[in-house]
């Protein structure tokens, strides 16, 4: 192996080593966030770090280490499926957390869902009162 190629090899090794360590640190950051943050919504913020950015860094490190081009599409497929499915579970968990009131309202800087919920509750009340009026009319 000529010296130039070994220099390139070393650079690629170093870059992938940095990616591996930073990607592992994302998991540690998520664990620290899970332990220290006060409520469900802020813990959800911490939990997304290893799922998206951490996985990206580690898959890039695999691609660099294998030194071939054909692995990159497979790695991209893994990452894109992760990007597609993680928001689904985050949406469901966040919605269930909002409905069961697992949040500290005083920590929110704005609650855009609150107006929508109030409006839906108001229209539900209006509907039920109109139904009662209809029933009364029929009874007469």
């Amino acid at each position: 192996m000529n010296p130039e190629a070994s220099v390139v090899d070393n650079v690629i090794d170093t870059v992938s080593a940095v990616f591996l360590v930073v990607g592992a640190l994302m998991s540690l950051a998520a664990a620290v966030g899970l332990l220290r943050f006060p409520d469900l919504l802020s813990r959800m913020h911490a939990a997304t770090k290893p799922q998206v950015l951490g996985l990206f860094l580690l898959l890039a490190a695999i691609g660099l280490q294998m030194r071939t081009w054909w692995v990159w599409p497979a790695l991209l497929v893994a990452w894109i499926f992760q990007l597609l499915t993680v928001p689904v579970s985050a949406h469901m968990v966040g919605r269930a957390g909002y409905r069961t009131k697992h949040l500290h309202r005083e920590l929110l800087s704005s609650d855009e869902l609150d107006a929508v919920v109030q409006k839906a509750a108001q229209s539900a009340r209006d509907d039920s009162s109109r139904d009662e009026a209809d029933d009364g009319g029929r009874r007469d």
């Binding site: 360590v21 813990r43 996985l55 497929v77 968990v93």
Partner: protein, 92 residues
């Protein structure tokens, strides 16, 4: 150098998994536990990735793709059927 990276990342991921398991056991709500188990799954995927990168094989790649496809079903199912059983709100 790769062996050093393997040792360092093994220590980091062990600490991270321990933190996630502590959050699973401590709760306080079901959704916190589901979220922490999602993080534990991500840490497992990270360990598979590091094994592949350090030892330069692709044996776990299909497992990783399958994990990223079906891994969300558990938390979606639990979040769908969760109910509030606490006496007072905001005690988390």
């Amino acid at each position: 150098m790769m062996q050093t990276v393997l040792a360092v990342t093994a220590v980091i991921l062990s600490l991270a998994a321990a933190g996630a398991i502590i959050r699973i056991s401590r709760g306080p709500s079901l959704l916190d536990r589901v979220l922490a188990s999602d993080v534990l799954l991500a840490i497992l995927g990270a360990a598979l990735c590091i094994d592949m990168a350090v030892n330069r094989h692709l044996n776990n790649l299909m497992l990783l793709v399958a994990l990223s496809i079906v891994g969300f079903i558990g938390s979606v199912t639990v979040a769908r059927f969760v109910a509030d059983r606490r006496e007072q709100a905001n005690e988390s």
